[in-house]
């Protein structure tokens, strides 16, 4: 029997990085095939190749569907070949009705005039296919819960005659009940011969539904295994099974007093009333230590630190103490005044004004320090900028270089430099080394060490386990908004953290 899908020797390079290295991926007809791997292992890139987002020619290798070689020059080609992908971020137009969304781009129309009766009738049929019988096709999709929105997405995919359905982290935002419904729908599809590729970090789900499992690591295929012949522990070790080959210059912590104490802290979802993105978390951070926060994508790590920093739109409840005094931080201004600083995970979106020069970006969070009576002192700004460039080893022509032209590593150093000028007591680093080269990483690690020596408390959120293990003194693991485990550095291993983060029983 020919495979429904065969991806042969796929190699995809980005400038400086090999995202996929000779990956081979075979999916049998009518099976549910799980694709597993750490953040950044290459799963999403592989699916983007498959869905035509990266067209033929931008990668090496071959794609065969039902034994026939296909060349996709765009998403449309892939759709015609029967491939439908449902992304983590749902792609529905929230103000349009279910029916309008289902037929977006292929409206049932004659001479441009839509035949609404036909649209509604067909919509009902497709909705029934995914078990959505209790909503009218006229309902605006924005009023549906996230689980039902996903069902609409699946119905939309089916209506395009999808033979291969790809679900990318479909359950990240779902409640347990909604997950159960989704898994039932997929089992029903399997009976009818729909092939499904299921990408998920949550191994318990993977094992409850998948027939085969393929593991990717660092852009390579590690292997494909029948689900019956393998278990969660084995998959985790395959996913993380790499040596700690990067150097981490960790120094011993001399933890001082507790600077930050967070007790029974919950954060509500800004849109879905009643949903908690952070659920009753308690922890404390001491002077002079690096406190790591681990968790899978969507576990709530970023939401937690953004909320503590007063910059998350959802409401929060619980106790936050800084230096033993309860504080109620409502906005970023206040957070900075209390001695907090946050280097966000997306430096281009949240960290930098790309069109401004280095010195203006550096002083942005501490402008009053460079002004008297509201008038800036350009000399002091330049002097301080030169000092930051020297201390952080930012490679740039001068302090007047526009930050948009710098490399990722140097941009990250500018963001870090901006916050160091505020002299923080608590420095929160969210993915501090994402997308930057090894040399710059190492320099940032050294800088972190220098800061804890000076008594700063660092909270580091990272998806890179080696980095967390290599630098942190304590690591808290979050899964689905809850604190599921905490390890001291010497007890933590990649396996134990992954087990806890994927919902297994951890330390």
């Amino acid at each position: 029997m020919t495979a429904a899908l065969e991806m042969r020797n796929i190699t995809k390079e980005f400038p400086g990085v090999k995202a996929l290295d000779d990956v081979t991926f075979t999916v049998k007809k009518g099976e549910i095939h799980a694709l597993c791997g750490e953040n950044g292992a290459g799963k999403s890139t592989l699916m983007k190749v498959l869905s035509g987002l990266y067209p033929t020619g931008s990668y090496d290798g071959h794609i065969l569907i039902n034994g026939e070689e296909k060349r996709f020059s765009g998403i449309k080609d892939a759709e015609e070949a029967g491939i439908a992908i449902i992304y983590q971020e749902l792609a529905l137009v929230k103000d349009l009705s279910i029916a309008e969304n289902l037929f977006l781009g292929k409206e049932k129309a004659r001479f441009g005039i839509i035949n609404w009766e036909r649209v509604f009738k067909e919509s009902e049929r497709w909705l029934a296919e995914v078990g959505l019988t209790d909503v009218s096709p006229e309902t605006p999709t924005g009023t549906l819960g996230i689980g039902k929105q996903q069902q609409v997405e699946i119905a939309k995919a089916l209506s395009k005659n999808a033979g291969i359905l790809i679900l990318d982290e479909p359950t990240a935002a779902l409640t347990e009940q909604e997950v159960a419904i989704l898994l039932d729908i997929l089992r029903e599809f399997r009976k009818r011969g729909v092939t499904c590729i299921y990408i998920s970090h949550k191994l318990n789900e993977v094992f409850s539904i998948a027939d085969s499992i393929t593991v990717l690591r660092d852009g390579r295929t590690i292997g494909t295994y029948p689900a019956r012949e393998i278990n969660e522990e084995k998959v985790i070790s395959l996913m993380v099974g790499r040596e700690l080959k990067e150097l981490f210059p960790r120094i011993e912590a001399k933890p001082g007093d507790v600077v930050l104490r967070v007790e029974d802290y919950s954060v509500l979802h800004p849109q879905f009333a009643g949903k908690k993105v952070i659920d009753n978390i308690t922890f404390e951070v001491r002077k002079g230590e690096i406190f790591g926060i681990a968790g899978l994508m969507g576990a709530g790590r970023t939401e937690l630190v953004m909320s503590l920093f007063g910059s998350y739109p959802g409401e929060s409840v619980g106790l936050v103490e800084i230096d033993g005094k309860p504080v109620r931080i409502r906005n970023t201004e206040q957070a900075i005044r209390e001695g907090m600083a946050l280097v966000s995970e997306d430096r281009k979106k949240f960290g930098l004004v790309l069109g401004m020069d280095i010195k203006s970006n550096l002083t942005l969070a501490s402008l009053p320090m460079f002004a008297a009576g509201g008038v800036l002192d350009p000399n002091r700004e330049v002097a301080s900028g030169n000092e930051s460039i020297r201390a952080l080893r930012i490679k740039a022509g001068s302090v007047e270089t526009v930050v948009g032209t710098l490399s990722g590593g140097n941009q990250q150093k500018v963001v870090l430099g901006k916050w160091l000028l505020t002299k923080p007591k608590i420095l929160i680093l969210d993915e501090p080394t994402r997308g930057i080269d090894v040399g710059a990483k190492f320099e940032i690690y050294n800088m972190m060490n220098e800061l804890i020596r000076q008594g700063v408390a660092i909270i580091m959120v990272s998806s890179e386990l080696p980095e967390l293990l290599g630098m942190s003194h304590r690591i808290m693991v979050i899964a689905e908004g809850k604190r599921v485990a905490e390890f001291r550095a010497k007890d933590a291993t990649q396996e134990r953290i992954m087990t806890a983060a994927t919902g297994g029983k951890g330390g």
Binding site: L354, G355, L367, A371, G374, L376, P378, N379, E400
Partner: protein, 388 residues
Amino acid sequence: MDTVTTKQARRANWFKFDARAYTMIGALLAIWVLFSLLHERFLTATNLSNLFLQMSVTAILAIGMVLVIVAGHIDLSIGSLVGFTGGVAAMLNVWYDWSTIPVIVVTVAIGAAAGLVQGWIIAYKAVPAFIVTLGGMLVFRGLLFGSTGSVTVAPLSPSLKSIGQSYTSDVVGWIFGIAGLLVAAYLVILKRASRRKYGFDVEPLAISLLRMILVGALILGFVAVMNSYKGIPVPFVMVVVLALVFTFISKNTTFGRQVYAIGGNAEAARLSGINIRRKVLLVFVLCNTLAAVAALVLTARLNAATMSAGQNYELDAIAACVIGGTSLVGGSGTIVGALIGALVMGSLDNGMSLMNMESFWQYIVKGGILVLAVYVDIYSRKRKKAQS
């Protein structure tokens, strides 16, 4: 080999001085040359004096508009606000016999209050500026009609009139000119010294000198031409003073820096602890205060408050900013650019009126020039990007 590269580097320096400023000045000169060829009276002292007088209102409005657009917003209400505050000034002066100083104070205060209300709705209630100021445009025009009973209010007292109609004496003009020259020279020297102190490249002395001589010739030539007619129009003196003050605000104050940061990346600005709402509110207060100042100038110049005063002035101001290089996306733009933009718009108005072109042609030409200017800007920026 070495000498060649340094020579090339130096040559690059020659042209580095803001290519777009050159483009704008070049466009302005081209327009002037064209009009002077088409009409012999365009380049006379009388007409140039008129031109600078006429462009003053648009220029004052554009100065305030730059900050609004840089912050990522827009203000459509200022034309009507000019009409309304001008009406109030005329009523107080003509009907109630208020003297000049209280009229000025109250008029400017009304402008500031209008900015406070509009800015508050925009910044704190998150209603888009387009909508709020579109509403303001109708409301202020309505207030003008209602408060004046839709009649022209005239004539003003001589002292209020003088705001828009008087000229500096020859001596005062020369004092302004020479003071301007000395300040400009001092600033260039100061900048060179501080750049050298912090190890930046300093442009060759010859270029600094050349530029200083050019600027000096421009200033003194301007004063000479104006003096050969009646002197520098007082409204234009106000434009220069306001332009200096607002350039200082935009470049040298924390407030100015924060406004540019908000327009450049509001999220990054917010996460850097900048109180975005308060800054945006202040930006609208400044813009609308300047609208009241422009209203005083306009009313005084016309010696009357009319029902149609200020109509479409907001569009002229926006056009001046955009022609002067202010990006409607926010984050970039200069006061000087907006002034040149206002001068371009003013020159087109003046030249076409001089040639007795019918007004429909004037609209079409101005509209075309606006779109062309932005097209050229976007096109050249794309090319620059493709090259780098």
